[in-house]
Each structure stands twice: as C-alpha cells, then as structure tokens.
Symmetry: C2
Subunit: 477 residues, 2 copies
C-alpha cells in the first residue's frame, strides 16, 4: 500500500489522474472547500466538493479535526494561494471530530492551552512546523557527523557516577519506596537495589564519550540528559536532549573550528530543506513582536538571525578581553546591565553575552580561556595556572548556545584538581585510565538540542520545542 502525501501532491506535475489522499480537515468553508492536512507539510491541499452531489449527513461530518479519505482528480487550481487542488469525486469519513468537544478549533489558541493538549498540538501550523524543524535538525546533526567521520555512541542513561557535578540528579531505584532495605547503620542498603549501588539519571555523556574518542578517534553522543533542579522557567527542562562530540588529538582552536562548521551546517541544512516552515515561523514571530513595546522588539527577524550565524565568521575573543570590553561598555558605565561588570573572574550573564554579539562585535562570538574556578574539573589548565581551555559560543537573542573545552590530558594535573575539588578517584578510575594509557590532547563540546530548536524556530518557551516537556510538577502524557 503506497500512501500518497499532501507534500507529494503539491510538488508533482499535474497529471489529471484519479488520486486518493487521506488527512485531517483543517477547515471546511462554504460547503465547498476543504483544507486538508496530513502533517507532511505546512501546506493544506484544497479539496473542492460539489455539495449538491453529496449527502447532507456526510457534509455535516466534514468538521475540523475529522479524518477523511478523499478520491478525486488533481487539477490546476482556479483560486489563489495554491497551484493545484482536488476535484472531489468521493469522500469517506474515517474518524469524526465533534466540533462541540474537539479542543483544536480553527482559531488562535494560547500556547498554555496547547501545552495542556500536547497530544493534539501538532495539529496546529505552529507546532507541526516546530516539530518538523526539530526532526530536520536532528537529521542534520547525524548527517554532519556521519559525513565527517564521527561515530555515534550511546552513552548510558542510568549512571552510578555523580562526579560531573553538572547539577542535581534523579535517583533511579527499584527498592521498596516506603520500606527500603537498610544496612546495619540504618542507612539505605543500596547493595539490595537493582544495580547493587545508588544510581541516578545522567547529566552528561561526556566522560564516557572521552573513552570512545580515545580509541575510535571522533565520536558524538545525542541522547537525553537530566537535571532535577526546581527551575520553573521558560529555559529549563528536567529532561532534555544533548549533543556532545569528542575528538582525539584536537586542541581548542580545532574545537572552535569544528563547532563553527557544525553550527553553520545544521542551520544551512534547515534553511535549505525547511523553508516553508521557517517562513511561517518567521511571520509568526514578527506578528508576536508587533504586540511588544518597541524597546523590547528584536533587531532581527528569525531568518535574519539564522543568516547572521551562517554568513558571519565566529569571532574568537578571550574571556579576559571580553571582560575589558564589557567593563568599558556604555551599558556598564551607565549601569544599564542588571549585573554590573567589575572584577575579572565573574561568570557572564546572558545580557553580557548578547551585548558582545549583538552590539559590540555584530557576529557570533566564541569566548575562550575562562577562569578555572567557574568551569568544570576536566578542562585543561593553561600555563597561567588560573584559566582553562574552555570555550562558549554566543548567539544573538539567547547568549550561550555551545559550551566546550580542551580536556585535561595530564594525569598529575587532573588528579590534583580532583583532590582539590574532593572528586573521588576511586569512582573515576576508568576516566583516569585514559590519562595513564596513551593519553593525548582531546576536545569536545556540548549543545543543548532544545536551545538549538528554540533558536531556529523562534519559540520563546522551551516547553514548546519538545513533544512532551518534563518540568517540576509536570510529567503529563
């Protein structure tokens, strides 16, 4: 059974042959024009009905959300807005949709309402466009790495390690929740748990990815990661997907080149393959912007922001230089920043990152050589003894989108750092082994996939770029 899609019909030459197409009714107007959508494209195909030839009971069942099968002839369209349409010869109702109770009416719904109906929200133009783009970005990620000799690696989701310290973790257990096994000292006896020890959901696959980089050379992960932080914001999820490439023999400048090349590729990929969806979301965002006060509006449209990334060289700037620029900047002098820049060593806020990108350099920026004490233990210490070979990539509108580093490959330096930070050598024996046996320079970075989808779609709430978001007090569907 070869199923035709609306996308195929709209892109093919008109052959005036009999066709059958299935889909869901978006609208039915004047008892004559059905806008039919099947999810294959944001476009509907117009099905023209001769109501005099159809049964009245049937006509009444052609309502928004109903699944129908249409037989007819594909012809050049008489109306505006489409090249082809279907002259309907027969309609079968596959599944009714009661207009009194169907949640997705042909009108504007709030995103809050649609989140409560996340199982149906991809029946709207906005969410179908967002999720098609999410899918396309996902494929572009795999394609980029595959084309460039990287191996995909599935790092473990359940982990007994909490060494990375990236955030609060979710405990995974099969012990009786109410009466867990206790040991002699009255503590939980995790030896009785499924894995024989305390386990959590992973916060990152990086450390495991390093083991494969140090044998297969170029690898990447693309999987779910978790944070049990009680952050009820439009930028945080408890469960989100992360992309983490890791490359042996690659130093920090190589890491920057890789990240720039990668980001440009995936954004060019969707510009090329998903133009209709992007144009729709671009217009949506412009309409939304118009409702805001002038001062809060973005300088760039969605498409302009994407081209800002693809068309500009990413400027490399050291953290120290960035701090100088920010300290001397107008918003800092005039105390317009919420967090004023004074001393070297502080972490940058989104407002500072955006200033550098949007106002000062007017291009994507890669900051590097951050203060050691605001970055993770595994980043390579510079000879100055106070900065590490870290890099963050900053984009317009959102600030940091990629974070990476050259890793500390020297056993003695790494051990000292772990001792200083009270990280257990016993737990990370395998990570230290990589420095004992054939260690080498290596680097990688992490990209939060939902942050990327937000940037590309112009959606403002991270809950709206993942099918079924997990946030504090919410694990619906």
């Amino acid at each position: 059974m070869q199923l035709r899609t609306v996308s195929e019909l709209l892109s093919q030459e008109i052959t005036f042959t009999e066709i059958t197409i299935n889909g869901w009714v978006r609208t039915f107007r004047a008892n004559r024009f059905i806008a039919l959508n099947d999810g294959s494209t944001i476009q509907n195909i117009q099905c023209v009905v001769d109501f005099e030839k159809l049964d009245d009971t049937l006509l009444k069942r052609i309502t928004s959300g109903a699944a129908i099968s249409v037989k007819g002839e594909l012809v050049e369209s008489q109306g505006k807005g489409q090249n082809v349409e279907i002259l309907v010869s027969a309609i079968e109702i596959l599944g009714d949709s009661d207009p009194e109770t169907y949640p997705i009416q042909p009108k504007k719904h709030s995103f809050e309402f649609l989140r409560e109906n996340a199982h149906l929200r991809t029946r709207t133009n906005t969410f179908s466009a967002v999720m098609r783009l999410r899918s396309s970005l996902s494929f572009a990620v795999h394609k980029y790495f595959n084309d460039n000799g990287f191996y995909n690696m599935h790092t473990p989701i359940i982990t007994a390690s909490d060494a990375e310290g990236a955030g609060e973790m979710f405990r995974v257990s099969t012990l009786d929740a109410k009466n867990p096994s206790l040991n002699d000292k009255g503590n939980i006896d995790y030896s009785q748990d499924f894995f024989g020890k305390e386990t959590n959901l992973t916060v990152s696959g990086q450390l495991e990815a390093e083991t494969y980089a140090m044998s297969l050379g170029k690898v990447y992960t693309f999987g779910p990661t978790f944070r049990a932080e009680n952050s009820n914001t439009s930028r945080h999820l408890a469960e989100f997907w992360m992309i983490e490439p890791e490359v042996a023999f690659m130093d920090l400048p190589g890491n920057m080149d890789l990240a720039e090349n990668f980001m440009k590729f995936i954004i060019n990929y969707v510009l090329e393959h998903n133009r209709e969806d992007l144009d729709f979301l671009d217009k949506r965002l412009q309409d939304e912007e118009k409702t805001k006060p002038q001062i809060e509006r973005s300088d760039m449209t969605l498409i302009e922001k994407l081209n800002f990334v693809t068309d500009n060289h990413f400027k490399r700037v050291s953290y120290t230089e960035a701090i100088d620029i920010l300290r001397r900047s107008k918003p800092n002098q005039k105390k317009k920043f919420k967090y004023l820049i004074s001393d070297w060593g502080i972490d940058l806020q989104s407002e500072h990152e955006r200033f550098l990108v949007e106002k000062h350099f007017k291009c994507p920026v890669i900051l590097f050589d951050y203060p050691a004490n605001i970055k993770a233990f595994y980043m390579r210490l510079n000879d100055d003894g106070k900065t590490v070979r870290a890099m963050d990539i900053l984009f317009p509108g959102i600030g940091e989108i990629v974070g990476g580093a050259q890793r500390e490959e020297r056993l003695d330096v790494l051990k000292q750092k772990m001792t200083d930070l009270n990280i257990s050598e016993e737990e990370l024996w395998w990570y230290l082994d990589l420095r004992k046996f054939g260690t080498a320079v290596h680097s990688g970075f992490g990209l939060g996939f939902e942050r990327l989808v937000m940037f590309v779609t112009g959606m403002n709430n991270i809950r709206d770029v993942i099918p079924f978001p997990r946030t504090p007090q919410n694990a619906s569907f």
Copy 2:
C-alpha cells in the same frame, strides 16, 4: 587544524608528500614496524622506523597502547598486507602506556575481561568493529526514515504512565530515599515528589508516537527504553535502545512492507559501507564456530545470514498456519522441541521461530494475526474476535527481531479492552482522545536496536554490542 585519519591515508593516492598522523600503537615489532591505529578503520597503518636514527629511550616508549604522533613520507609498501606505509622521519610520544600495567595486551582477551575494561575495549579489533557497525546502523536508521518522509520524534524518558505493561519499571524520584514524605494514610506522598506524582523510566515510546502519527502522518522514535527485570541472560539489558515507527492510514500489510523494506535497507547499508568490519567479524565468528561441536554450528556465516535477509522475500504466514506447520513438523513429532506445540493459542519460542525460518521456509518470515490474549491491549481486534492484527518478524539464528501491529482505532473496542484488562481510562485520556477526534487506521512496529546489532555483528552476548551495558548488579562506568 585539519586532522588526517588512517582511513584517509589508506584510501588516498600515494603522493609521496610529508604527512603527520596521530594514533595508538597496536604492535611494534623488530624495532622497525609500528602498527598504528586511530579508530577510523579496522586497518592499521604500518610505520617503518629506522631504529639506528632514533634514540633508544624513545624506542622503548613505543609500546602497545601508547599515543604517538608520526611524521614521515607515505610510500608504496614493500611488505605484504598493505598498499601504503609511512617511512618515519620523526616520532613524538604523546602519551605513554606502561606495558606492565596496560590491560589491553596484544593477545586474545576474553570478552568477560574486556567487559570489565569496557572503557578500553574499543581499542581491540572486535569491539572497534562492533561499535563502528553500531554507529553505521544508527545512521542508516535515521537515513531510511528521513529519505522516506518520516519525522523523528523524541518521546519522554520519564513517564507517569505504566499502562503499557511491557515489564517492570524503574522508579524515578527526588524524595528522600530513607525518609520519604508520607500522606495521611501513611503511604508515600508522591505529590511532594519532583513531578508531583509517581514517575518511572519508559518501557516504550509507542503510545506517545501514536499522537504524532495522528498529526504529522509518519513518525519514528529512536531512544532508550528500560526494563527492571532481574534477567541475567545474554539477551537482556536493563537499558536498551528501541526504534519505533508509527504511520497514520497504514494497515497491517502496509506495516509488513515497511518493516521488510526498512530491514533490507539498513542491512544493505552496512554491507555497502562497513565491509571491512563485517569481514573481520565474519572471520571471528567462523573461528568461534570451529571450537563448537558440529551439531551446534550455524549453517550460515555472518555475511550469508545478512544476505539471507537482503536477498529473500519475507514470507507472510498467519499464526494459525504456523501452528499447523509446527504441530506437524518433525521436531515436534519426534519431541525434539523443548516446548512441544499442541494447542492453538500458545506463545512461540525461539526454537519454533528458528525452525520456521531456517528449516521450513528458508527465508525471513512475518507471522501475523496472533491470539489476542498473548498480545498487548492496543492491537486491533480482528472480526473473528480472538486474533489481533499483530505481526512478528523472524530472522535466522535469533527468531523474533521486530514486533508490530495495526493499532485499535475504534474507541468502543479499545475502551472495552482496557476495562477487561483493568487499564485506567483516566490515565490514558489523551490516548483515547486520538480515537475521539479524527481516528484512522494506523500501524507501527518496534525494533530493539541491540538485537539488530547482535544480528549484524554476530556477537552472542548483548553486553558486547552496547558501550556500557546496564544489567542486574552492574552500572559500571
């Protein structure tokens, strides 16, 4: 910094120019020949050293596992076994590897030993080949679906639903493990937990995938799934990856065609792209088979098994017909089956499935229309009232590899089934909504990714086809 790989060097025309290559020493013999590997291919590149020109201390540091950087000229090889080799002009030791303590010696290690050193096992030929194939299969999956108009969808990992009943689940919680919040009745007060209710790790993304199929048309998931079953076998993991396509308007025959087409594509993909790794694993398996008694040896080599799938039509056979064949079969008559076939309605065992594939039909087999009471609640009931539109695909050597079904799209039938099985309508309100608003025929299937990797690589233990396996009492690395 453009990094060269061994794979690139071996496949390029000899240009007699100066090159630099990094990698790990596999062997160093006669103080002259370094076999260097960087993971980009199973092949090593031979680096020829003039030991009289090199320092003795340096020579001693060229040991198995050491990371080195080699400068030299790429020339036509004088020896056998390779076309090109490197005449070394300079060597830098990047990272030593103490031959006294390095676990991966240039000899045969048991798979058990290598599992304990899973962070280093991809430095062996077998495991690097397996993991390159795993990566290639993963890409083939994404490519197939992308090329055929499917959208990739990330279904949730943490779920409040346990309706699918596919198996025991892992609890996900941030409540104090020892002193969890209790309610008035003295039970765990999950309203105090992170998500405000009891949550678990998902066993399948299918139900959620159906929501997207019923709006975007053709979708697929490829993500981790979990079973908290205490099965310490060579075929079970607590954490494994699953591929689940779901298609609107597709019936069971369409589902069979899709699955056959898909399986042939991905296997052809690796036959075309990973021939060296497959040939190595084919030989490995043949060597292993030789150690077994004649009666236990496989009739087919690894490559023959792959061609058995790509070159044969998958035979469609109803469950009822299969039971007839099995009941009348020699092994059943002669009581050679461990589980004898008597009555219609029993579940088939791997021995029965393999008999059908390897002895009776001599091709991959798709069994369909299974007894309703051995299959899941969401499968579409046939008019006979006792079978459902389920299908299993059976492969040589392993039996079932794919399980799928046409889904029950009729609201009343589905509700009755849920009532019969005591499945909460309240919990699955959103799943029922799909049958209330624009329901339609739809189908899909599930493929356990590790089962596929085992089939393609010929590895016998599922712990050896995933980077860091999670099994009862084991969550190492």
